[in-house]
Symmetry: C2
């Protein structure tokens, strides 16, 4: 009302809220994310965010959806990389760890369980997509004879566990003075060795 340059309708408030929320999330963590503060930052009234997000959790869920979307893009990019399968598997692992440590608070939103029932379904589906991307590459590796037999989906769960857990340790400052890149290399070596086909000389990435 006061400023002439502020029209009654923002025009793109939903996107603006998400964008600003991502910054705050990355900077100060999810606990510091307040709808009212976001509204202030964007120069709208304290209740305006309510038009776009039913409640605070709905905003957080939307952020998590965005996170999964970006993550999955990254994973797909790693799959499409040129080179031998095992190198691409390792690359996917590195991509995951990189995303995770670069977006720690977001990742924790993505894997946290308290989503509303509707977003919950969407988020689970997106998470399963991540796993399926990994499973696809693993299936390919199996056809090439470098990865052991077994349900690709289940092997993908194992691979995912390794990199996800590693990221968690890194974020939690539990790697002591081990550089993350070295910890990642070792984890991927152990993982790919464990996944290697028993006969074939394996998925070892060192080669």
């Amino acid at each position: 009302m006061a400023d002439a340059d502020s029209p009654y309708h923002h025009g793109n408030l939903r996107e603006a809220l998400l964008a600003r929320a991502e910054v705050v999330l990355a900077t100060s963590g999810a606990d510091s994310l307040s709808l009212r503060a976001l509204a202030r930052d964007l120069g709208v009234s304290h209740a305006a965010p309510g038009r776009h997000f039913r409640d605070r959790q709905a905003l957080l869920d939307a952020l998590a959806v965005g996170g999964f979307t970006r993550l999955n893009e990254g994973l797909r990019a790693a799959v499409d990389e040129p080179g031998p399968v095992t190198a691409r598997l390792a690359g996917m692992g590195r991509a995951y760890v990189a995303f995770a440590v670069a977006n720690a608070p977001l990742l924790s939103l993505m894997f946290t369980v308290k989503h509303a029932d509707d977003s919950s379904a969407e988020l689970r589906e997106l998470g399963h997509q991540s796993l399926r991307i990994a499973a696809g590459l693993i299936a390919l590796a199996q056809r090439e004879g470098v990865v052991r037999a077994g349900e690709p989906d289940r092997l993908a769960q194992v691979a995912f566990s390794t990199v996800h857990g590693l990221a968690a340790l890194a974020v939690g400052s539990l790697l002591e003075d081990t550089p993350l890149s070295e910890a990642t290399d070792l984890a991927l070596d152990v993982l790919l060795t464990g996944l290697a086909a028993p006969g074939g000389d394996a998925a070892r990435p060192g080669a």
Copy 2:
């Protein structure tokens, strides 16, 4: 003042708060943990918790400390189990996963970064203890020639990553319909295979 059976001093308020907080945490999650609600539950005034915990975060940190303490007890118990080293390694992995899924919200407090600086040091130390316990068993396995050479601390980080990540997937409902026990068995098989000494026929748990 009203009730004759409520003395002015509670007598054990700190412990009572922690006990009640654990229940609420496990039941409704960390976000639902309110100091005032705890005070109500215990029949004390809304400011009483402030005498024992500087702020809400201090309470959460204390819970996390308790969690690590119990976790480490469990891990140590797995180490002291009778049987071959590889079986004990697998047992430790299973113990971790069991603890993690049975105490998911607590675990997330334990690994979350926003602790006050003082508790932060204590919590990091407790986390490192967990890793050291695993490293000890791995070092033993190396002396027996069933685990590959390398810094036990770093191999422990890898092992930890696997089980921690697996627990995260399980809690996040990302295992689809895979039973957790099967996913755990597979993960431990892959992990121990990957950790096995190259020559020796290995730490495979199947034996």
